[in-house]
Amino acid sequence: MLLKRIKKGRFILLSLFVAVALALTGCSGKTAQTNTGEKTIKIGFMGPLTGDAKTFGESTRNAFLLALEQAGMKAGEYKIEHVITDDRNDATEAVNVVDKLISQDKVQAIVGSVTSRTTIAVSEIANSKKVVLISPTATAEKVTVDNNQRKEFVFRACFLDPFQGEIAARFARENLNAQTAAILYDQGNDYSKGLAEAFRKSFEALGGQIVASEAYSKDDQDFSAVLTNIAQKNPDILYLPDYYGKVSLIGKQARNKGIKAVFLGGDGWDSPELDFAAMEGGYFTNHYSPDDPRSEVQKWIQDYKSKYGAVPDAFATLAYDATNLLLNAIKTANSNDPVKIKEALQATRDFPGVTGKITFNANGDPVKPAHIIQIKGGKQVYVTTINP
C-alpha cells in the first residue's frame, strides 16, 4: 500500500517535471528565434538566482542587463540577444545550464558564473566547446588555468586571491610603515589560506617581519590562546583574511586581549553585517569602493541607483565591467565568431572599467588596481587605490 502510494507520488512528480521542462524549452525556443538577415550575437548569463548565494546572482544579473541596455542592445553592427539562466550555486546544475546554453540556445558568449565552485566546472565545458566565457567574480586560480594549461576561451573581471594578499602587504609596508605583522587565518578555507600565504611572502619580501602566523578552524569561536601569544609580540599589523562573521569575533577578542595592532583584511570584510565597532580603524582590500571619486564610478552608481534603487555592491560592479569588456571585444572584433571575440578580449589594453584600468595577462586574468577601504566611524571610507 505504502509502496503504491510512493509510486503514485513519484509518477505525479515526474509528470509535473516533464510538463515544466516542456514549458521551459517552449519558452527558450521562442527567444531563440532570430530575424533572418540581421547580424546577431547571442550572449548567455548564468548565476545563482536562487539558493545560498542568491544576492550575488541578483546583483550580477542586474548589472548585466543594465550594461546591455546602455549599449542599446547592440555591439558594433551586431544586435544582442540574451538568455538568463540560474545555476543555484550548484556545480552539477551549472553544468546542465551551460550545456543548455551552448547546445540549445546556441550562445556565442557567456557572462558567468559567480562563484569559483560553479565557474571551475563550467569553464572546462565552455572552453572545449569554444564558447567565450567571462566570469565577473570567480577568484580561484583554477578558473582560467588547469594543470598549467590555459583555458583559452575563459576570462574573468576580478583579481585573484593571492593578489589581494600582496596588495595588503604593500599597503602595510608603504602606506602604514609597518615593521611587524601577525597573521591569523582559517586553515580549512582556500580563500583565507591563499591571502595569508601571499601576504606573508610579500610582507617579508618588502623587508617586514612576520612575528606570528596562527591558524584556526571554521567552527572555532574562542581565539584567546593565540591572541594572548600575539599580544605578547605586539605587532604593528594583524592580518585577518576571512569573511566578515569570523573577523568580527576575532577583532573583538583581540582588542580585549590588549592587542593594539591595526587590523587588515580582504574583500571578505565587505558586508553590512561586519561588526563595525570592533573593527574600527581597520583596512581591507576590495574590488571597488562607492566613495571612489573617479567619474566612471560615480556615473555607474547614479545609473544603477536610478534603475534599481540601491548602491551597487562589488558583485554588480564586476559584472558590469565583465559585460562591458565582452561587448567591447565584440565591437573590436566586429564579429560573432567566438574565436575572434576571444582574440579581441585577450588583446584588451587599459580598458576603462569601473573597478579600474583593465588589461588581461596571458592567463586571461585582469591586471588592475585594488582599492583600500577603511572602517571609520561605523562606515566604510575609501582610502586609496593601489596599482599592480
Partner: protein
C-alpha cells in the same frame, strides 16, 4: 610565568563555557540514557531568545536568561513529547536517530528567513565588559559571571537530584522505568520534567555564551554541543560533577595546545586525549567501573 597563568585563565573560561552546555547533556543522559543530540540546538535557540529579549524586548540580562529558560523548557517538553516518547520502548538506536533528526530540523528550520534567518548576527550584550588586572593577569567580569553561574547550577542540580523528592523519583526512573511506575511514580511526568530542566540549562548556557562570544547564528550549537558532549563523556557521562571536570580538562587542553604547541592541532589533540582516557577508563574519569547494567 604570567603568560602561562593568563593562558590557564583563557582555558578556564573556555572550560566553564563548555560546562554550561555539558551539565544539561549529562543530566538528561543520566536519567533516561538518551544522548540528546538536539541539546546543542536548544542551546542555540536559547541564545537567540536571550538576544531578542535583551535587545528588542527591553529585558535585563537576568530577565533574558529567565525568559530563555522558560521558553526552552517548553520547547524541551515538546521535543520529548513529539520525537522521543513514541519511541520510548523502541530500540535505543531509534531514539538516537530521532534525536539527530530533531537536531537537523531545529538547525534548518531556524535558518529559514521568517524564523531567525541564516545570517550571523552581531550581539551587543547588556553587560559591559570590565577588565581587572590582578598582578598582571587580566580578568573580566564576564569570566566571573560564567564561573559563578556554572558553580551555582552545579550545586542546584546536585541538590535537586540527591536531596529532593523529585530528584529521588528521577533517580528511580533512571534505575528502572517499570519498577518506578509500580512504586507510583508518574514516569512520563518525570521524563518530561528532566527534559524541561535540561533544556532550561541549555538556554541559560546559550544566553551566557553570547556574553563571551557575541555572535549568533543557527548553526552555532553544533561545535560547542559536540565539545560539551565529549567533555561529558570524558568526565563520565551521567555524572553531574564529571561534566564540569571534563569540560575544564577540555578547555585547558585546547588552550594550552593552541598556545604552546601548534594552533593547527588543538582539536586533534583534545580528541586524542579523549580517546586515551576512554581506552584506559571506558566509563570516564569519575565513572563507576564495572559493566553497565543490561
Amino acid at each position: 610565568m604570567e603568560r602561562l597563568l593568563e593562558q590557564i585563565i583563557n582555558g578556564l573560561q573556555l572550560g566553564f563555557v563548555y560546562a554550561l552546555i555539558a551539565l544539561g547533556y549529562t543530566m538528561v543522559y543520566g536519567i533516561i540514557k538518551l544522548i540528546n543530540f538536539a541539546h546543542g540546538d536548544v542551546f542555540m535557540i536559547g541564545a537567540f531568545i536571550g538576544y531578542f529579549a535583551y535587545t528588542f524586548w527591553g529585558f535585563s540580562l537576568w530577565g533574558a536568561v529567565l525568559i530563555a529558560m522558560i521558553l526552552c523548557a517548553v520547547l524541551g517538553v515538546l521535543i520529548e513529547r513529539i520525537a522521543y516518547r513514541p519511541l520510548r520502548y523502541a530500540p535505543r538506536i531509534a531514539a538516537l536517530i530521532s534525536a539527530l533528526g530533531v537536531s537537523l530540523f531545529l538547525e534548518y528550520f531556524c535558518s529559514l528567513k521568517f524564523v531567525f534567518g541564516p545570517n550571523f548576527r552581531v550581539v551587543q550584550p547588556p553587560v559591559k565588559q570590565i577588565h581587572w588586572n590582578l598582578g598582571g593577569i587580566p580578568i573580566t567580569n564576564i569570566q566571573i559571571i560564567i564561573v559563578a553561574v556554572v558553580i551555582l547550577l552545579l550545586l542546584v542540580l546536585q541538590y535537586l537530584v540527591y536531596r529532593t523528592k523529585i530528584g529521588t523519583a528521577m533517580r528511580a526512573v533512571s534505575f528502572d522505568h517499570d519498577a518506578a511506575r509500580l512504586m507510583g511514580i508518574n514516569v512520563d511526568f518525570i521524563i518530561a520534567f528532566t527534559f524541561a530542566l535540561g533544556s532550561a540549562l541549555a538556554a541559560a548556557g546559550g544566553v551566557l555564551y553570547t556574553l563571551a562570544y557575541p555572535q549568533i547564528h543557527p548553526f552555532m550549537g553544533i561545535m560547542p554541543g559536540l565539545k560539551a558532549f565529549t567533555a561529558a563523556v570524558l568526565g563520565g557521562i551521567g555524572i553531574i560533577p564529571g561534566a564540569v571536570l571534563g569540560s575544564l580538562i577540555m578547555g585547558q587542553v585546547e588552550t594550552l595546545t593552541a598556545a604552546y604547541l601548534t594552533s593547527q592541532m588543538r582539536d586533534a589533540i583534545a580528541f586524542l586525549i579523549l580517546i586515551i582516557v576512554l581506552l584506559v577508563r571506558p566509563s570516564g574519569i569519575l565513572g563507576r567501573g564495572g559493566p553497565e547494567k543490561v
